[in-house]
Amino acid sequence: MNDYIIKVENLVKKFGQLVAVDNISFSVAPGEIFGFLGPNGAGKTTTINILCTLSKPTSGRAMVNGYDVVRQQSQVRQSIGLVFQDPSLDERLSGLQNLRFHALVYHVPASVREQRIEQVLKMMELWDKRHIVVRNYSGGMKRRLELARGLLHHPKVLFLDEPTLGLDPQTRNRIWEYILELRRREGTTIFLTTHYMDEADKADRIAIIDHGKLVAMDTSERLKKIVGKDIISVRTSDDKRAVEEIRLRYQIKARRDSNGLTFEVVSGEKFLPTFIKEFGTKILSVNLRSPSLDDVFLKLTGREIREETGDAFKAMFRRHGRRMRR
């Protein structure tokens, strides 16, 4: 028995001059939820495309379920389920017909076909809508149908490329319940990409990718230890003066960003009361929190991952814009 179900060794993918995936190596254990976290353009989709045989690596090797993604394409394809970043349904057919098509091409035995379709549709709460043409589904329904389809043939590994992009928080939570339930029931290995921090937090292990390179890979807890300290954000009446004061008083370098000022201290609960009492510049608001994956990313790369939380419309627009360009 192997102790990994996905193994990637020195994988490189170039598009002309651009190195989209730059010599990455990692492995994923069976039953693990493995998260790929990185900003747009980091190389997440490109990696998935290689792992699912849609695209060939420039160099390096990748194995999925014991099969080589270049030389044993059809075995790899039979082992995996996919939810692509961009929509991939037949909009002219009903939800049910989309699933029947999928069941046929994935050789789901006729004896269990209808029963399984019913099961996944009910799981995704789409059973009542099964006869409706997909064109008339909402964005969330389409996403759930794609998830149902990805599960239909009981794949060993499920690839989810930004599975909740552009969905409202409620639908996102629901989809996550399904994903966790699936792992519990079927032991499916889940490989997901995201640029939502809270989503990455749900993975057993996270690989942080930036400009095609893996910059860190560990559990969420341990990644956060890289930052170590607590994070304090303050808004003041004069940020420039406040930076100077923090530097002189505590020998800490504060950053100015969208939240005003941010700096790190060891055990923030103890620091904060004295800070508020003795600070000379007028404080408008204070926020104390433990490090997030955002802070980890910032620490490792010097940049923030731009979040699109709450801006579902913009994200939807991106999804569609991309589709129209292809």
Partner: protein, 262 residues
């Protein structure tokens, strides 16, 4: 076995989509019939008869059948381009079926839909004074299917290389009209200038149209409805072989083109 299932599934989806959109059928025979009755009747009084009691509408009728089949199957490739734009092509390309079976299934789907449309036109034969025997229909159906598969695979080959629906339609229009006009749908290729005759003989559709016409009008290959290729009178089987070779070549190229796609 695996491949057959792939071909069947891809074909089945195309038929399902056609059935959902069957209102398209009306559009598909509206134009051919318009051509036939308005254009045909308007001109027939001024056109010489072809001897043996065949009038212009009767001459055009098999050509219109061929044209319907040709245009429908050739344009069917657009579904590949649509699937790419809507992302569904990825679902197909990542499925555990061979790319060859995808191209094969698409070709058969295009040919089946075109055959249905051609058959609808065939039903109008009595209206133009042509009586078709069951034997003739039995010969015509596979002929139409062959022409459809040949042109369908050509369209699909182009579709695997073109990224947008707009570009595909532009290319198709540029090819379809010359192909229809230079295939003898509307006039006999007997007394045309040499350049036109050469182009018509390069056009694979010509051989399909001529064969359908010979069967419908019960004319021999050495009649004005036949084709003389480099001094050789093309028999029905010659034409069939030529179309089959062309169709096979296009299908193989389409399979290869799709197979190398990322």
């Amino acid at each position: 076995m695996n491949n057959l299932r792939g071909v069947y599934t891809i074909w089945y989806r195309d038929i399902l989509r056609f059935w959902r959109d069957r209102i398209r059928l009306i559009g598909a025979f509206f134009f051919p019939l318009l051509f036939l009755f308005v254009f045909g009747s308007g001109l027939s009084s001024r056109m010489a008869l072809f001897g043996s009691g065949i009038n212009f509408v009767q001459f055009m009728f098999p050509g219109i059948i061929g044209m319907t089949v040709l245009m429908s199957s050739f344009m069917a490739g657009v579904s590949v381009v649509w699937d790419r734009e809507f992302g569904f092509l990825k679902e197909v390309l990542v499925a555990p079926i061979s790319r060859a079976s995808v191209a094969g299934g698409k070709t058969l789907g295009a040919a089946t839909v075109a055959l249905i449309q051609g058959t609808v036109i065939l039903l109008f034969a009595p209206l133009v004074g042509i009586s078709l025997s069951p034997q003739m229909v039995l010969v015509l159906l596979p002929l139409m299917f062959l022409l459809a598969a040949a042109m369908g695979s050509f369209g699909i080959l182009l579709a695997t290389r073109i990224r947008t629906v707009e570009a595909f339609q532009a290319v198709m229009q540029m090819l379809t009209f010359p192909m229809v006009f230079l295939s003898g749908v509307f006039f006999s290729l007997q007394d045309v200038p040499t350049w036109m005759s050469v182009l018509a003989k390069i056009n694979p559709a010509t051989y399909g149209i001529a064969t359908i016409r010979q069967v419908v009008l019960e004319a021999p290959p050495d009649s004005p409805f036949g084709i003389n290729l480099l001094g050789h009178t093309m028999s029905l089987w010659n034409n069939v072989a030529l179309l089959a070779v062309f169709g096979t070549a296009m299908t193989l190229l389409a399979m290869r083109s799709l197979g190398s796609q990322e």
